[in-house]
């Protein structure tokens, strides 16, 4: 995947929300550097200049073609060792900025509750939003096709290398990093709870309750979702204007 550089300038851009809040303060950091051609179509509408208000919805970055959507999902799936969750937030929110952290969490909640793999559900939602049913199909196929070929190839060579100590060690190290990736994304998302209608403290309590129920008590998700989630939604419902 050499066409994708590991760190493009576009990656450093703050979220639209941040930019709206501190437009002038951020400006010096936003000088666009030379961009690789493959990313030009992504970065172009998002390039913030002093005269463009990028916080308005109409000018938000979005996929411009089914092909771009396909490769975006293939690329994030291929980065997803030990689960794709961390990569989805990084790629779709932080880097491509097709969605905000709030939208990501809303979609992720629905993707978790619905049956089926949650990253696949999320790709259906994102694809459908931009290109309708075709987009949903393209996003899912993008997420699954190349990784599926790769996993079959890995299976073919697995028997040869499975017990090699360096391979075992590398997988151990990547497993430890994968846990950290997911935790780091959780911490990043937690920042947006400051604007939640329930307020920071009740939100924090819900976070801790869910975490304890799932990781310490090991309760099944089928219990935690309706009980904790139902309470959280009911409390939020009371706070929202009709």
């Amino acid at each position: 995947m050499g066409i994708f550089p590991l760190a493009e300038p576009v990656y450093r851009h703050p979220s639209p929300r941040l930019m709206a809040a501190s437009h002038s303060a951020m400006a010096p950091a936003l000088q666009p550097g030379p961009r690789p051609r493959t990313m030009a179509c992504l970065a172009a509408p998002a390039m913030p200049t002093a005269s463009i208000d990028t916080s308005s919805i109409g000018e938000r970055p979005r996929p411009h073609s089914l092909r771009e959507l396909f490769w975006a999902f293939t690329w994030l799936a291929l980065q997803g060792f030990g689960g794709v969750l961390a990569v989805v937030q990084r790629e779709l929110v932080d880097r491509r900025r097709w969605m905000t952290n709030e939208e990501f969490m809303e979609d992720w909640a629905a993707a978790q509750i619905l049956p089926g793999p949650n990253v696949v559900n999320l790709s259906i939602m994102v694809g459908d939003r931009h290109f309708g049913a075709r987009g949903a199909l393209v996003a899912v196929v993008g997420m699954l096709l190349l990784p599926m070929l790769l996993v079959v190839a890995v299976a073919a060579v697995y028997a040869v290398f499975a017990t090699h100590p360096m391979v075992v060690g590398a997988l151990r190290g990547m497993g430890a990093v994968a846990a950290g990736l997911v935790a780091g994304v959780g911490c990043r998302l937690a920042a947006s709870l400051g604007r939640h209608p329930l307020g920071p403290l009740p939100c924090g309590l819900i976070v801790v309750t869910t975490f304890a129920a799932m990781s310490v008590l090991r309760l099944p998700l089928a219990w935690v979702l309706p009980v904790v989630g139902g309470a959280a939604c009911a409390l939020t419902w009371r706070k929202l204007p009709a």
Binding site: L6, L114, L144, L150
Partner: protein, 197 residues
């Protein structure tokens, strides 16, 4: 040759119907239905061995991509088991992948698609807004719990403290910086291959 399975078209249909039937039960990820797949594929039908079943899950989790791809590998292995020659076995493997993946994905994806459409049409409803916003703290709790479960595969903190340290350092870097995740994964692989963690 004598060990090769002999799957009839009705068996392939049976496999497809099985995956269709468990698709909507896979709430919280396909891995939650793995015990039932073991019951069906290994114990009842005898289409896979125990070892094939377990390595399929291990490989899918260590390779990139969604973890649901372990189902593709299960189908691949069922196909391979039916083949008696190399190229026929590969074709049967591909058929197995297609049958299992389409079966597991079709019902849940259609449901998600319909639900997404419905939620978008009704996005101004107070109940839909309450659901979307109310679930946010729960989602963060679930994500942190996922990280914890992944991390606890490290084992004893006293002995395996370098692994825990690596996870903690990764958490900090992802949280506070915008470093690309592939650098972190590469560093983890390198440290592990060198035997430092």
């Amino acid at each position: 040759m004598t060990t090769a399975l002999n799957l009839q078209p009705v068996d392939w249909l049976n496999l497809f119907l099985y995956y269709l039937s468990i698709s909507l039960l896979a709430v919280g990820g396909a891995i939650a239905t793995a015990p039932d797949m073991h019951r069906f594929l290994v114990e009842r039908q005898g289409w896979l061995t125990d070892v094939q079943f377990n390595t399929s899950i291990v490989i899918a989790q260590s390779a990139p991509g969604p973890n649901v791809l372990f189902i593709a590998l299960l189908g691949w292995n069922v196909g391979l088991n039916t083949g008696d020659g190399t190229h026929m076995a590969w074709a049967a493997g591909a058929l197995g992948v297609a049958v299992c993946m389409v079966g597991i994905m079709l019902p849940s994806s259609l449901l998600t698609w319909a639900a997404t459409r419905w939620a978008h049409r009704n996005r101004e409803r107070r109940s839909v807004r309450a659901f979307k916003q109310g679930m946010a703290p729960l989602v963060i709790g679930l994500i942190l719990a996922t990280a914890w479960v992944l991390g606890s595969a490290h084992g004893d903190p006293a002995r395996d403290w370098p692994l825990w340290l690596l996870s903690a350092a990764t958490t900090l870097l992802v949280w506070r910086t915008r470093i690309h995740l592939l650098w972190l994964l590469g560093a983890g692989a390198l440290l592990g291959a060198l035997g430092w963690v």
